[in-house]
Symmetry: C3
Subunit: 139 residues, 3 copies
């Protein structure tokens, strides 16, 4: 069994952002030399998400609006977590809904995807350096 | 390390549907010949979900109602994604809440499940051909 | 390829509870002897969750309040599932939102975590014996 690990690093200009990382993950899979196996892609920070969806601007808007309605950033005083001096409780909750990670099959050395699957890094508390872990195992 | 991949294919009669695929996945695991490992089961389309829950009609009703309340299909004009000519933005969001995939342990050649765990394919934009990927790795 | 499986057992004093199981999972990874691989941690019951978040009391309160607002326990009659004699339909839904499982990379024999990642068992229908499965595969 082979394994390979690499990080992706982000520092978004805005507090919330959605970045298509499919190409980055595909390159890491290629570097790993693994033909058959699994690829784990996870946010290493608990106010960000990795998920799979369509790369369509309107949809990204809809998902962002959906999450902001579910767990609004303001008033920040509504969250107990923010009494610690943070203002990112909503980011923790948004990420919990959208999910920390995806696991993708690798077949013939490639991400084994349906026609529209794209991997996104979703940032909910950005403007600082944060990482995504990509771990590939297989043969 | 061994690996094995197979698809399940669906074409539901209704727009939304919940199908128990546990037996299908168990048969694929058996075919793989893998005794110890992991089994990934994921929707290959971004308007459908694979998740694990109880196979009880009332609960399936409750989950469906919960998701339809959170992200209603109508009015379709409330979603920016639907300006592309689609009417399935709600399906993308429902699937994001319920999740794209499950990873199940394989022990002694079987899905290593608790007493009530059942794998479901949840369709949110059906009446067309869609696939689920099952990837098994291990030994 | 090596593999290792162990259970964690819980019987919470309250109906809902959030327990940090990071140390328990780390010890299982150590026992497995696996240096590079993946670790699956999943609830074996469909009214409980395994997820990763910050170990901060205020945040745990916020997540609990968020889930109780989304899918309130009462009135129990609002859920069809509860017509079976159960009163835990809300627990099934809460767990569906928060997720059944996490998959964590193992690198150099340890959980490959970001600075604040902690694994939690979230119980939504406790006061009975329930289990979490930990499966480690790799080399």
């Amino acid at each position: 069994m082979k394994s390979y690990r690499e990080y992706l690093v982000f520092n978004t200009k805005t507090k919330r952002d959605y970045i298509n990382i499919t190409q980055d993950v595909e390159e890491i899979v290629k570097k790993s030399g693994i033909q058959e196996g699994l690829c784990l892609v996870n946010a290493m920070h608990i106010t960000a998400s990795v998920h799979i969806n369509d790369d369509e601007k309107g949809l990204i808007h809809d998902i962002d609006e959906f999450l902001e309605t579910l767990a609004p950033h303001e008033p920040t005083s509504r969250y107990h977590h923010n009494r610690t001096g943070e203002d990112n409780a909503d980011a923790h909750i948004k990420r919990s809904v959208l999910g920390r990670e995806v696991v993708v099959a690798i077949t013939n050395g490639k991400l084994d995807f349906g026609p529209w699957e794209q991997i996104f890094y979703a940032e909910f508390d950005g403007q600082r350096t944060k990482r995504v872990l990509v771990k590939v195992i297989g043969e």
